[in-house]
Amino acid sequence: MAAASAGTPAARRGEQSDMLRFITCGSVDDGKSTLIGRLLFDAKVIPEDHLAAAPRSDHAGPAADGMPDLAQLIDGLQAEREQGITIDVGYRFFATAQRRFIVADTPGHEQYTRNMATGASTADLAIILVDARKGVLRQTYRHSAIVALMGVRTIVLAVNKMDLVGNAKGRFDEIVAAYGEIADKLGLASVTAIPLSALQGDNVAIASTAMPWYGGPTLLHHLETVSTASATAQPFRFPVQWINRDASGFRGYAGTVLGAGVAAGEEIVVLPSGRRGHVDRIVTWEGDLLRADAGQAVTLTLAEPIDIARGDMIASPQQSPILADQFAAHLVWMDETPMLPGRPYLMQLGTATVGATVSELKHVLDVESGMQKAAKQLVLNDIGFANFSLDRPMPFDAYEENRETGSFILIDRLDNATVGAGMIRFPLRRASNLTWQDFTVDKKARAALKGQRPAVLWFTGLSGAGKSTIADGVERRLHALGRHTYTLDGDNVRHGLNRDLGFTDADRVENIRRVVETARLFADAGLIVLVSFISPFRAERQLARDRVGAEEFLEIFVDTSLAECERRDPKGLYRKARAGQLANFTGIDSAYEPPAHPELHLRTPDHSVEQATDLILDALRRRGIID
């Protein structure tokens, strides 16, 4: 199936574009930077003062004499020049009479897979570079698999360093045949193979005289003329970026047209609300348009007064996007901290931001063999296939239908880093069969009957810090005051509800997720809930706060030093952990992330149990939870 191109609007319209975005992929030493340097050099776009500043090449060979080191022209960061490697994705620009080019130069090292995914996300075409001496390697499969996953369907197989294999046709044919198997396996139908030498300049911009057996185009000629247009136009999509208002009462919706165009007067649907209306005007600075095509940034007004916000999507009502709160997607993990199912992330889906979790990690893809492996988490540069659960239904398309409306990024809720990138494959409709049942007797009614306000007191701290002792003291006092309470204790819950879970990071996240949901149910029943859990990760405590609601949530940090906890060691666990009999023990070989802004910070043993209890009761009074 042809992927809709994200790169150039003309390609999306199915026309020949005068701009081509491409990515170069290769392993270390395949000569990627040299190839790009050569393209820029032969296209005569490298300024003379840059050439003069570049170090001379130390390569031998007739064409290399006195040449600048082409790779050095490309590697932009000081660390890259020093180490002779490419760390980060870089972008280069050149133009010929036929086309304007944007080149993403991406690192070949395995640990920088995320940069390749980044470069491929906007590319119309990928150049897969192979060293003629080494042939097709495991990395070649990896690069091709990532590119295929990211929806790039037009491939150039550039067999480089042909001069070092005597420009032999036989070697070239062998490599082309070996790559054919990879392309078949990955469903890459459009592959053009070109034998070349980036260093010597053979078949890059100038046809080689050294390989008379090759009758095809040079790389540059191919790039100038190749069509990357998709066969079918995709339906109209318009993610709303910005509500445009002015003093005269104008109200329009600004965005970029995706898929097929739209004309004034046409019927549209707004998602997620599902309201229908008609395009009234297509407003631009030059004047109103009769129609807008893919890639145009315009402002729409509607004939009907429909409530629309940033993040909504205006779309074709005949072929409307999918609306669901669960879907399956491929996920490229881009952060040092692993992805854990159940952990709450923010998802930027088009122009919308929603809360999202991975509800189930189906498998990790081994991109060197194509094998699917079971896994409990994703680490940096892993590619996984997973089910996602959003906090509300959102409009989207399958990635192969539309690269912009079928993709998303995941953001860490605490440090705001972009941690993952996803390609949606299909919706999961389970949630649509389950509707939330509203009952007449609600939380407010239940709490009123008890004459109290529900709350969740979340005690966090190391094992042996005194969480349960203090929680017990607080519960006794509340009970004496006639309050209805319930305590969820880490050890106790693990005997029942969470009996199936261990102590890996992934299981800890699921452990907390279940406890958060249980605490919510008890709070919904009108109770004051005391939760006493080590809960070592900030992200899960944030989840608890978000799910419960900040106004009913108190995070209580029972801050006891590791040394003091170890000295107390009430359950003998530290001793076991130190002896290596207990793995993943918080504070020993598993991290504890202290709260940044807890509602209460209790430093023991500075505070006695009684003092700590008093401080918590005071806090509840200030919140109006108790009188």
């Binding site: 960061l77 940069n115 348009l289 145009q296």
Partner: protein
């Protein structure tokens, strides 16, 4: 009256649409965004795109010029005239402390002057006015380290750029989320080249500072650069003399640090023709770029635009 635009240069339309998209994302992402206006051709294009992105409303941004007090006089005159024509409010920031200490390019050299009157001044202005998103006209084709920079480029609370901790940027999905104190630099012209900028200026008939066009100007040759004697602060060293030469500027900055090129290109089409034939880089005339390797990169780490 509905109009149709000719589609002859579709790549320029694509670059324009991408820049407009970026402007709108920036408007939505930040609490207090600002356009950094440096008066040059890229800034002229930037303002033009901002007007287009939010038409018929005014761009929801402040416009800030960090004035080193050493800009060409024609630049300042153009700035005041242009912003008034467009009906945009201009905020001008000068590093008062640096001014009081008498910091200048002639007395302290390019590096110190740029650091204090430009980089420090920019940081002061962002802190003082609480801007959390700063939209600038930098392009990836200008310099090697800029080729590696994101469109939404995160700065720490001390305005530093850390190339090893850049956020991956996929599709057209920009992560604008900030922790308290952090800020974002946003570059809508990231994928434009110098030639694209001029071709767009021609297509859109965008006014630019007349210094870009060739004219006879008073020139001193100093350290291999053709420096214009723009005011009396430029005093001649022994052996130097002012010559009337036909020159133009490819980039504009502080006049004692900005080299002119000998040229007869006095129209936009003539500039485009000259660039098409040219084999030297745009920033070649900028004294500030020519330190040791990684000079621009180091300045960017420190918060330079």
């Amino acid at each position: 009256m509905p109009v149709h635009r000719p589609l002859d240069r579709s790549y320029l339309q694509q670059l324009e649409a991408e820049a407009i998209h970026i402007f709108r994302e920036a408007a939505a992402a930040f609490r207090n965004p600002v356009v950094l206006y440096s008066i040059g051709k890229d800034s002229s294009v930037l303002l033009h795109l901002a007007l287009k992105a939010f038409h018929p409303a005014k761009p929801p941004f402040a416009v800030l010029h960090v004035d080193t007090t050493w800009k060409f006089r024609e630049m300042i005159a153009f700035r005041d005239r242009r912003l008034a024509e467009l009906g945009l409010d201009l905020q001008v920031h000068v590093n008062r402390d640096g001014l009081a200490r008498g910091i200048g390019p002639l007395s302290h050299g390019a590096a110190v002057h740029t650091d204090i009157m430009k980089t420090e001044a920019l940081k002061q202005a962002l802190d003082l006015r609480g801007f959390d998103g700063a939209i600038g006209g930098a392009r990836r084709d200008e310099e090697a380290s800029r080729a590696k920079e994101r469109i939404f480029s995160l700065r720490s609370a001390s305005h530093r750029w850390d190339p090893r901790r850049q956020r991956p940027e996929l599709w057209h999905n920009y992560n604008g989320r900030l922790a308290p104190g952090e800020s974002m630099r946003v570059f809508p012209l990231s994928n434009w080249t110098e030639l694209d900028v001029w071709t767009y200026i021609e297509q859109e008939r965008i006014p630019v500072v007349p210094l870009y066009f060739a004219a006879v100007r008073p020139i001193v040759e100093r350290d291999g650069l053709l420096i214009m004697a723009d005011d009396e602060r430029l005093t001649l060293r022994s052996g130097e003399r002012i010559e009337q030469r036909r020159v133009r500027f490819r980039t504009l900055g502080c006049y004692p640090l900005t080299g002119a090129i000998e040229s007869s290109a006095d129209t936009v089409p003539a500039i485009i023709a000259e660039l098409t034939a040219s084999r030297t880089s745009e920033r070649q005339g900028r004294a500030i770029d020519h330190g040791h390797g990684g000079s621009m990169e180091r300045k960017k780490h420190e918060g330079y635009f």
